[in-house]
Subunit: 150 residues, 2 copies
DNA sequence: CTTATTTAAGACTTCTTTGTCTGAAATTAC
DNA sequence: GTAATTTCAGACAAAGAAGTCTTAAATAAG
């Protein structure tokens, strides 16, 4: 798979938070139920994003998580780097070391192009901007699309 | 990672075979040493390609494996499908079910483009054609590039 | 202060991928 | 035939990813 499951869950949860107006906290229970993601697993992923400063958390009743201003202006690329690391954007398609530094493998020129396209796709908009777009276009964040950008 | 390790090993071994003139058999020991891939692991991968008709094998002294005519005219795409399955070319970037059938996720339009670019990269040449190209351009198939297309 | 709610932290289990090992079957050379 | 070489088949082990569970810490409400 292109992205790990942790990463996909992290992106979807971040987009969920971006879709919510105001800056209230949303509980992990709510998010995990809405997006149908294992509660404890999601907890660990969002803890990572909190550590990286994309998400702010608050404990106690009515607590939860929300995007920091950093998070609102982050791109999906930033989140992928935070969760999966930079490998996807630097590594050789054939797994050889030193892509771009040593002699190219047979796929190099083409893979650099495709890889760049993926990078652009993830870099082109901030979470806030994607959320705006989502309100117009009714993008799907869940299997059955029961989630709405309101 | 884009492709599994099994898949990458399978592609590299197939390109190795394509680089060899004539239709002699090459032993798995030779291939695994040249390409620095675990012998037993490579064995299993090539057994799969044999079962799928891309590779022919012969037992006994001076035995080994070689590309079938199907294999020589196969593309890397064919081999990826055989080893990793079609998931990379059909699945949603956010892991949602029914990509292309249900409402699109926020990445869909862009992912379809990038995915197509990857597909084209893998489909554009047969193993034989890549081997020809490799002889001109000295592509790398190993970490240090000690392999030569001769 | 007590209780309920919520995130934080980390141990633990399960599943998949990756890699290793052993023995059987086919083939060749002597 | 016997021994050596090679693929075939499948059990097994190690490592990583994915998912579960328990306890602790912070906060709010009564
Ligand atoms: S060397 Fe293989 S993709 Fe760059
Ligand atoms: S629905 Fe997500 S990429 Fe197609």
């Amino acid at each position: 798979m292109l992205l790990s499951k942790s990463c996909v869950y992290g992106l979807r949860a971040s987009l969920y938070l971006a879709s919510k107006r105001g800056n209230e906290y949303h509980s992990l229970k709510e998010i995990s139920e809405e997006l149908e993601i294992s509660f404890h697993f999601l907890t660990k992923i969002l803890q990572q994003l909190t550590a990286d400063g994309y998400v702010e958390s608050y404990k106690g009743p009515n607590g939860g998580v929300r995007l920091s201003s950093n998070g609102q202006n982050a791109t999906l690329f930033d989140l992928v780097i935070a969760i999966d690391g930079p490998g996807l954007f630097t590594q050789c398609a054939l797994g050889l070391p030193g892509c771009g530094l040593q002699e190219p493998c047979p796929l190099h020129d083409h893979w650099v192009g495709a890889r760049g396209k993926i990078e652009n796709m993830l870099k082109r908009m901030t979470l806030n901007e994607i959320a705006e777009e989502g309100k117009e276009k009714h993008f799907r964040l869940t299997a059955e699309g029961e989630f709405s950008w309101q």
